[in-house]
């Protein structure tokens, strides 16, 4: 709650250009530009993503899906909107060191990851998905939470 208010306050501050301060520096320093690519190493620029990176390297998906394939939604806009959002908050969190440890996926990004599975596997699961929709849609992560990076 408090945190949320704090975040929004900060978002405002950025608009005023403070972001150019910390955010901007981090952006360049942490090779922010690469954040916009699909290269998984981009994510690993941050040591705190190292664990996931090295786990991903060993995952069944390393050769078929990069971080972004699972952590950004379909479509250009959504993709870059999410990147901007995560990019900013991750940079911010990283710089200030304010984040839970171990890192917990946010509900939003969890939904994105769930949806990502269907980008590639929709046909396969069409039958088990059946006519179910909305909250009753099958959660893949319930059984396959480690496909991207084994624990």
């Amino acid at each position: 709650m408090k945190n949320a208010a704090f975040k929004s306050g900060l978002v405002l501050a950025c608009l005023v250009g403070v972001a150019a301060g910390i955010g901007g520096y981090t952006f360049i320093y942490a090779r922010g530009a690469s954040y916009l690519t699909n290269d998984a190493r981009a994510c690993a620029n941050c040591h705190i993503m190292d664990d996931h990176y090295s786990a991903w390297i060993q995952s069944s998906h390393r050769s078929v899906a990069t971080c972004n394939d699972c952590h950004t939604p379909k479509g250009f806009i959504g993709k870059y909107a999410t990147k901007a959002n995560n990019g900013f908050w991750h940079s911010f969190a990283f710089t200030t060191g304010r984040y839970p440890d171990p890192i917990r996926i946010t509900p939003r990004n969890r939904r994105i990851a769930e949806a990502a599975c269907l980008k590639c596997h929709a046909p396969l699961v069409a039958e088990i998905q059946g006519s179910h929709a909305g909250p009753d849609k099958l959660s893949c992560i319930r059984c396959h939470s480690t496909v991207g990076h084994p624990r």
Binding site: A126, E127, G130
Partner: protein
């Protein structure tokens, strides 16, 4: 070939025949859903595991019982069960469960039928959905009530199939549904107890819950209430053994009078749903179907394996998606849990035998009803607790610690019962 797969992919529920709410015959459903039907038919397989699965025992068919193969007799494996259930039909014939394909014939031909049984029995051994509705003139519950009050023989003539597609699925959407009055009413009472009013499982349950509820239609403790022989699931106070026992005390029900002691007894039957709900998997949102009907790749699709069976015969699919341990390791983990349960179950069984012996002795040496009141209550309780694990079919796996706790209490009840029949160590001397 690829072209076809693409076809399939676009409309997974491509139908070749029409299925209505009266279509009981699974073979017809199978035309539209061949993968599931194939699995369903395979429930005839009989394969053993250490404590589960089933083993085929040949027998010479007779007029009364045409079966040429039956499952192993539990009574012969452990004769103490005959003493435990003395005076009750279960002491005549009690076998290992086997696949769904056998449910109707096993029920029809069990020697337990030598005691007159009501039509109620069919609720969980046949595809009764259509028959109930027919009998009730479109009203499921009415039909249920009518069939309960028939004799088993009479009712048996009205059903043809063991559990079939229609018992778990809505023919239009293929979504899961609960068709069993016993569960509809039982879960309603349970939810009411938890503060949820007028719970309608088919409207209010999540899809994931339904993946267990369809099994909870039958794999539960039950009793026949009153003259109408209404099937009731005793969940009014909750699903724990203590809460169920409390319920039976309140309604003061007894299934039979013990043949050797004269105590008013309760029989526990297959409380898989109740025990599962005390376990870590239920808390983790893992459903019965996750383990007993795991997904299976068929061509371009994943489908639910309708060959419902012991997960230990299918560890790779049933467990390894969630547990990345080697198959052998997973089998060993189950084994450790089951062996521990089995060991404690043995001790509880011994305690019960000692207790029954003592009550008999006390009666022959002329103990009064008053003196027997306490021992009777303790036998009733001890035995119900033990039976709750004995008749539960996972040998403790569904809720390992809870199973051990229940057996521990059962032992305590037996031994205290024995004590109540003996003079105190000190008093012993001053006795006349």
């Amino acid at each position: 070939n690829i072209m076809e797969r693409k076809q399939e992919a676009r409309n997974p529920f491509y139908r070749v025949v029409e299925i209505t709410d009266e279509t009981s015959d699974p073979e017809i459903w199978g035309k539209d859903f061949p993968f599931q039907y194939d699995g369903y038919k395979r429930t005839v397989d009989m394969v053993r595991t250490r404590f589960g699965g089933s083993e085929a025992f040949p027998r010479t068919p007779s007029e009364a019982d045409p079966r040429s193969i039956v499952a192993r007799s539990k009574l012969e494996q452990d004769p103490r069960l005959k003493t435990m259930w003395a005076g009750y039909a279960f002491s005549r014939d009690y076998r290992e469960r086997r696949g769904h394909a056998y449910m109707l014939e096993d029920q029809t031909y069990t020697e337990r039928q030598q005691v007159a049984q009501p039509g109620t029995c069919l609720h969980c051994h046949a595809s009764v959905y259509a028959p109930y509705k027919k009998l009730g003139g479109g009203d499921l519950i009415k039909g249920f009530e009518k069939m309960n009050q028939m004799s088993f023989k009479e009712a048996r003539a009205m059903v043809t199939h063991p559990i079939a597609c229609i018992d778990c699925h809505d023919p239009k959407t293929m979504e899961l549904r609960v068709t069993r009055p016993g569960f509809l009413e039982g879960i309603k009472a349970l939810k009411a107890h938890q503060g949820v009013k007028d719970y309608d499982v088919n409207k209010m349950a999540t899809r994931q819950e339904m993946r267990s509820y369809v099994c909870g239609q039958c794999h539960v403790e039950y009793y026949f209430k009153g003259q109408e022989k209404r099937l009731v699931y005793p969940w009014q106070n909750g699903l724990k053994v203590d809460e169920i026992y409390a319920y039976y005390q309140e309604v003061n029900h007894k299934d039979w009078v013990h043949g050797e002691t004269g105590a008013p007894m309760l029989k526990a039957q297959h409380p898989e749903f109740e025990m599962y709900n005390q376990g870590i998997h239920a808390r983790s949102g893992v459903a019965c179907a996750d383990c007993h009907m795991p997904y299976k790749r068929e061509g371009a699709f994943k489908v639910s394996d309708h060959h419902v069976r012991s997960p230990l015969l299918n560890i790779n699919r049933a467990c390894q998606t969630c547990h990345k341990w080697p198959e052998e390791e997973l089998r060993e983990r189950v084994n450790i849990i089951q062996e521990r349960t089995y060991q404690l179950r043995g001790l509880a069984m011994n305690a019960l035998m000692d207790f029954i012996k003592d009550i008999k002795a006390a009666r022959t040496s002329g103990a009064s009803e008053a003196q027997l009141a306490k021992p009777y209550e303790l036998q009733r309780r001890a035995q119900f607790y033990l039976d709750f694990i004995e008749s539960e079919n996972s040998m403790g796996f569904h809720a390992p610690q809870e199973a051990a706790r229940i057996l521990g209490e059962s032992i305590d009840f037996c031994r205290q019962g024995q004590m109540s029949l003996r003079p105190s160590a000190a008093a012993a001397v001053s006795l006349k």
